[in-house]
């Protein structure tokens, strides 16, 4: 059996912000009526965190839930647990209108670390990245330069960025370019 490999196999760039591809991450798109108790239970049971409010992501270690739209959340689990997680979702939600699908290998995830990460994201996304406008825990789907992406900030000068796997190299390149030493702008200090 072949080994699963993430899009860029953990590529890293050491700029004034660290850019690292996160490697394998299990990601399940769960769609349905988000007010449904069963949908919520499946998401929180697998994601291991509270169900997120609109526009938020709850995340602890390698599990979490991101609010994607009024009828969609992204449930994140360790990559090896995805088949069992899907089985659980299908069992609990059988007979209900829903979608639970493995998108782990259709996405790439990047972790940014460093005090300047807000401005690195602000160089690429049309989003107000000031701490007041975008506190830790907010989740934003938007674009990075020319491709769709989503991100959220942790409490610890870290951020996670999700994009389509097909544009992983592009996103790595633009993040790295934005984080190049000498490119500091000094925003949000």
């Amino acid at each position: 059996m072949s080994d699963a490999t993430s899009a860029l196999n953990g590529a890293a760039y050491h700029g004034y912000v660290e850019v690292q591809e996160a490697g394998l991450r299990g990601m399940i798109t769960l769609r349905g009526d988000l007010a449904s108790v069963d949908i919520k239970n499946v998401a929180t049971g697998l994601g291991g965190v509270d169900f997120p409010a609109q526009g938020h992501c709850n995340w602890v270690e390698d599990r979490g839930i991101a609010w994607m739209s009024p009828d969609e959340v992204l449930v994140m689990v360790p990559h090896s647990e995805v088949p069992a997680a899907l089985e659980t979702a299908r069992n609990v939600l059988s007979g209900q209108h829903h979608l639970a699908v493995d998108v782990s290998d259709a996405r790439a995830v990047f972790v940014l670390r460093g005090a300047g990460l807000r401005e690195v994201l602000a160089k690429l996304a049309p989003v107000d990245m000031s701490p007041e406008a975008f506190p830790a825990g907010h989740f934003r789907r938007t674009r990075l330069a020319q491709v769709p992406a989503a991100f959220w900030l942790g409490e610890d000068d870290s951020a996670q960025v999700i994009c389509f796997r097909s544009v992983a190299q592009y996103v790595f390149d633009i993040l790295s370019h934005a984080a190049r030493p000498g490119g500091e702008v000094g925003l949000y200090r």
């Binding site: 739209s69 009024p70 789907r141 674009r143």
Partner: protein, 108 residues
Amino acid sequence: MLILTCPCCGVTGEETEFHAGGQAHLQRSGPGASDEAFEAYLFARENPRGVHFERWRHANGCGKWFHAARCTLTLEVFGTYSAQTTQPPQEVLDAIAKRRPGWTEGGK
């Protein structure tokens, strides 16, 4: 710059996060309609200098369609509202009336 607030996910973003979908509240001319009526449904569009109702999609975002009422001249947005309606809601019409006294829907 045009700034829209998506009524589906609550995000306020600038126009490159969205995709324009043309004039809102078109009524399809159904089977039995005259050729003229069907042609008008397919091709005839308002192009006002001022208040306009449009469809937009939050393409780089939640992906949902919604409606927006805005001024084509100033890019002022009077309101955004659900796609699941055939008419602008009263609060959007009120907001337009407040900002553009004398404006009437369909009036020139």
